[in-house]
């Protein structure tokens, strides 16, 4: 018998997952992870049509999995059911695009200026709202030329080599952030190579496109495995990509006997940039050549960072910079969840979930918010007047002495 068939047997109906669910917290109509996951799973096995619109409202934040004391694997059950959920045509078309940020990136970055102009045009946004059901209340991140490349080796010394998995946001929207990651790692003695990878597959899984998620997982595994076999570690600067490489591929490709060993190796070799640097710090090997700063920060831990089970490396790293005071907001999920917050029918829920975080930022009154996730940053800037940036940028500024 397949082991995963037993996961529903683990549920004790304790509702801890419901208590941890951000959507359940703001919408009493939402059935909650306990019902959408293990409870409906029993009925699905019975052959009852347990398809419900609410499956679409799962954020995929994995807070239920983290909360569950019995290893039910709630979100995976929901994701499976979501993949089988039947959507109306228009939403299906929209979600098809949302599941493919890589393709969207490749197309829009052919002529970024025109794309950005089009995306900001009122008429275009009106069309997207009315026809594509994309909320006009948010702004899209600007696209730029995808010019992130592996830098030429600067020194001749033999450095530990890393494989950088940039992800779509860095590749198509913020290649400059990618270069900063590489520079930060270089200052800590690593040589970094940009991996030739596709989208990690999180947006595909979140939009219920299992086939696309599988395709992305397979392509990425094939692309990364040679480097990992050669002893390179993989680093990510996006918490969702990191989650996918560490855990998601294993779930998606569990029936693929050919790729399973590679998936395991990649999972074991993948590190968040912060995770790598905090390990350097613990070993007394972190470059602490920081300039004196003077800044008050607030830190928000993205859900997919939490679900990696690595603590809060960036919070502890930034604290080491002299002159920086940093508060861990610990105010739950931001509610953005990638493309979720862009969907017209989910916009209100998305903002309602973020309210606790917005309130705590407003109470903290920092000069800036630090968070690793690009869409958490978007949500924070959407819901408050504060700027949110990746901790990599702050740390690099500290080396360069550019922090106010």
């Amino acid at each position: 018998m397949r082991q995963d068939d037993f996961a529903i047997d683990n549920c004790l109906k304790c509702s801890v997952c419901n208590a941890a669910c951000p959507v359940f917290g703001v919408n009493a109509q939402y059935p909650g992870p306990k019902q959408l996951g293990p409870e409906l799973e029993r009925l699905r096995l019975e052959g009852i049509s347990a398809d419900t619109e609410w499956l679409e409202y799962c954020l995929g934040c994995h807070r239920c999995d983290m909360a569950c004391p019995h290893g039910v694997g709630v979100s995976e059950m929901i994701a499976h059911a979501k993949a089988k959920h039947h959507k109306p045509l228009v939403r299906g078309l929209r979600d098809w695009w949302f599941a493919r940020p890589g393709l969207l990136g490749k197309l829009t970055t052919i002529l970024p200026a025109i794309s950005n102009f089009a995306l900001s045009m009122k008429l275009a946004r009106f069309f997207m709202s009315k026809v594509m059901r994309i909320t006009p209340l948010r702004t899209f991140p600007a696209y730029t030329k995808p010019n992130l490349r592996t830098p030429p080796a600067r020194t001749s010394e033999d450095r530990a080599r890393l494989l950088f998995f940039p992800g779509c946001f860095i590749r198509y929207n913020r290649p400059d952030l990618g270069r900063k990651v590489i520079e930060l790692l270089e200052r800590n003695g690593f040589a970094t190579e940009v991996a030739a990878t596709e989208c990690c597959g999180v947006p595909a899984a979140a939009n219920g496109d299992a086939a696309q998620a599988h395709a992305m997982a397979r392509a990425n595994v094939k692309s990364l495995v040679a480097g990992v076999d050669a002893g390179m570690r993989v680093v990510t600067a996006c918490s969702s990509c990191g989650y996918m490489l560490k855990t998601g591929f294993g779930g998606l490709l569990k029936d693929d006997r050919e790729l399973a060993p590679a998936v395991q190796k990649i999972a074991a070799s993948t590190l968040d940039v912060g995770e790598l640097l905090i390990a350097q710090s613990d070993a007394g090997m972190l470059n602490t050549d920081f300039q004196q700063a003077n800044m008050r920060l607030a830190y928000h831990a993205p859900c997919h960072q939490k679900s990696q089970g690595i603590g809060r490396p960036w919070f502890h790293l930034l604290r080491q910079i002299p002159g920086i005071t940093i508060e861990d907001l610990d105010a739950g999920c931001c509610g953005m969840s990638g493309t979720y917050g862009f969907k017209q029918e989910k916009y209100k829920i998305s903002v309602a979930i973020g309210q606790e975080l917005f309130d705590s930022i407003n109470a903290s009154q920092p000069q800036m918010v630090a968070t690793e996730c690009a869409t958490c940053q978007m949500q924070i800037e959407h819901g408050t007047d504060f700027k949110a940036i990746h901790p990599v940028e702050i740390m690099l500024q500290a080396y360069n002495g550019k922090i106010i």
Binding site: M1, F6, D9, L12, K13, P31, Q35, S49, A50
Partner: protein, 544 residues
């Protein structure tokens, strides 16, 4: 004093079937049940609608009856049946000669069957043991016993028949060698009542001897205990039988969301106070794992025992339970020199309940001089679904909830729609495992339902509330509150009701030795203040 033509003792499948049959023949009848519907063997079986496959090799007549009834029940009560089909699995541990014997006998009994090799069988049921040799298909199905009994009663009540639960017959009055009436008392309130009647039918199953004694006669019945395990989910999607001479632990029936594994067979003195032993449970699990290895690690929700009331003709009195025929016997005590107007029906199977009812009703009709034919094989137990109600309930409730409720309630779903339309908060789920809304719960508790639930366990038999993994820990509490808030129970009644319900649910889990259900039971004990070491219940839930 109430009066009627016929009083039926026993609200199992047979009694309910008789009530429906009599109502179709225009004979007035009252059914008296000492507990709730399907309180005895009916409610404590696999819920297997036999295709006869299990009996072909031993008892061709029973097999043929089963096959015919299997087809009829699928037609007259589709809402009670999950027509999932079955497999007779050939295990390497068993006698290969029997496989061939079975195949020939199945042909003789006209049981539609296909021969599958191991690969084909495993493709259909991937969780079967990898070492199986092959399988035969058969048209076995699962029948929801509570729903089947309810369907018969509801249909009969719709035609003027009456049904009283918690009514124990204490006396049978007779004069001039004929029955004249019965006396019974309400086991919840102690109230005593009498009914005048011309015929009394003893369909009391395991309690048949007790009922016969009230009329001063004897019936040859033996009680045979069977223990069954309820698994949390379905490891197979079909009924799995082991193709061998009928033995223990060789049937697995997917029943709604759960799966039932059983049984054992053991002679017992009577149907009350049955318990299973740990050895018996391990033995069943071990046998179940020979068919489906995953069973060894599966979560058991509950363990229960039932007593088959087997008919024992004098000559086989010394044989074991498995050797005794599964066929039934009808005793017209008038022709046997006993009291006139007293009929006993014993033995038989759930699958043949309608056939047994027909035989009884033919006999009753003869006695009452009513010219009639049995039509229960043709008349559907439930009218066709109301399309308008179907659309509306799907607007009001999410799909799985609507689908489950519609299957359970049928036309009565309109009552629930009215309730939710008037008070949308009634759409709240009370039992999350089995998808029972507050509106449905209030309906089965209320006087609008044909046989209102008296206890929380009664609610379970009507809705499956508390039949899921939590075993009433959360939903039982909510049911108690609902009973109190709708003025069904006073605060102290509600608290007492919940306490006894919870103890009954705990009892069913107490013998489970390991796995998640032990933790679930622990959670239940902790929530309601019981000490694990003694399992003594100390807390009183607050009915306010």
């Amino acid at each position: 004093m109430k009066s009627t033509q016929v009083v039926i003792i026993g609200g199992g499948a047979t009694g309910a079937g008789i009530l429906w049959d009599l109502s179709l023949r225009g004979i007035s009848a009252i059914l008296l049940e000492q507990g709730d519907i399907a309180n005895g063997a009916t409610g404590r079986c696999h819920g297997l609608l036999h295709s006869g496959a299990r009996y072909v090799a031993k008892d061709l007549e029973t097999a043929r009856d089963c096959l015919a009834e299997n087809r009829i029940i699928k037609t007259i009560a589709p809402h009670c049946v999950e027509d999932i089909g079955g497999l007779m699995v050939q295990c390497p541990q068993d006698d290969p000669a029997f496989f061939e014997q079975w195949w020939r006998a199945a042909g003789d009994a006209d049981i539609p069957s296909r021969r599958l090799n191991a690969e084909e069988a495993l493709a259909l049921e991937p969780n079967l043991a990898a070492n199986i040799l092959g399988a035969f298909t058969c048209p076995d199905a699962h029948v929801d016993v509570f729903r089947l009994v309810l369907a018969n009663i509801e249909a009969a009540v719709g035609r003027g028949a009456r049904f009283h639960t918690y009514s124990k017959v204490n006396s049978i009055q007779s004069a001039d060698g004929r029955v004249r009436g019965v006396g019974y008392s309400n086991t919840l309130t102690g109230e005593k009542h009498e009914i005048a009647c011309e015929v009394v039918i003893n369909a009391a199953g395991g309690w048949a001897q007790e009922a016969a004694a009230l009329a001063g006669v004897e019936v040859p019945v033996r009680c045979d205990k069977g223990t069954l395990l309820v698994l949390n989910h379905r490891p197979s999607s079909r009924v799995i039988n082991r193709c061998r001479k009928s033995g223990d632990g060789d049937i697995l029936v997917p029943a709604g969301p759960v799966c039932i594994l059983g049984t054992s067979s053991m002679s017992v003195p009577g149907p009350d106070g049955l318990t299973a032993s740990p050895e018996e449970i391990n033995y069943l699990l071990q046998l179940g794992a020979e068919l489906i290895p995953g069973v060894a690690d599966a979560r058991i929700l509950r363990i229960f025992c039932g007593a088959r009331a087997l008919y024992v003709p004098a000559k086989v009195d010394s044989a074991g339970g498995r050797e005794i025929s599964r066929s039934y016997a009808l005793f017209d005590h008038e022709t046997l020199g006993g009291v006139g107007g007293f009929i006993s029906i014993v033995g038989g199977k759930l699958t043949t309940y309608r056939l047994m009812a027909a035989a009884v009703c033919d006999c009753v009709a003869g006695k009452l001089g009513v010219q009639s034919e049995c039509t229960t094989g043709k008349v559907p137990l439930r009218p066709v679904d109301d399309c308008k109600a179907h659309r509306r309930i799907n607007e009001l409730l999410p799909l799985p909830v609507a689908e489950k409720m519609e299957r359970r309630l049928g036309p009565a779903v309109t009552r629930v729609i009215e309730a939710i339309d008037a008070r949308p908060e009634l759409a709240e789920l009370v039992c999350e495992c089995e998808m029972v809304t507050r509106a449905e719960l209030e309906y089965v508790l209320g006087e609008a339902s044909p046989i209102p639930a008296q206890t929380i366990a009664d609610i379970g038999r009507r809705t499956r509330l508390g039949f899921g993994p939590c075993q009433g820990t959360f939903c039982g509490y909510r049911a108690m509150l609902a009973g109190f808030q709708t003025h069904r129970w006073t605060a102290s009644q509600a608290a007492k009701e919940f306490s006894s319900y919870l103890h009954e649910r705990w009892k069913g889990q107490a013998l489970i030795q390991e796995g998640k259900q032990v933790e679930q039971l622990d959670l239940s004990h902790e929530l309601y203040g019981a000490d694990l070491s003694t399992c003594a219940y100390s807390g009183e839930p607050d009915g306010k």
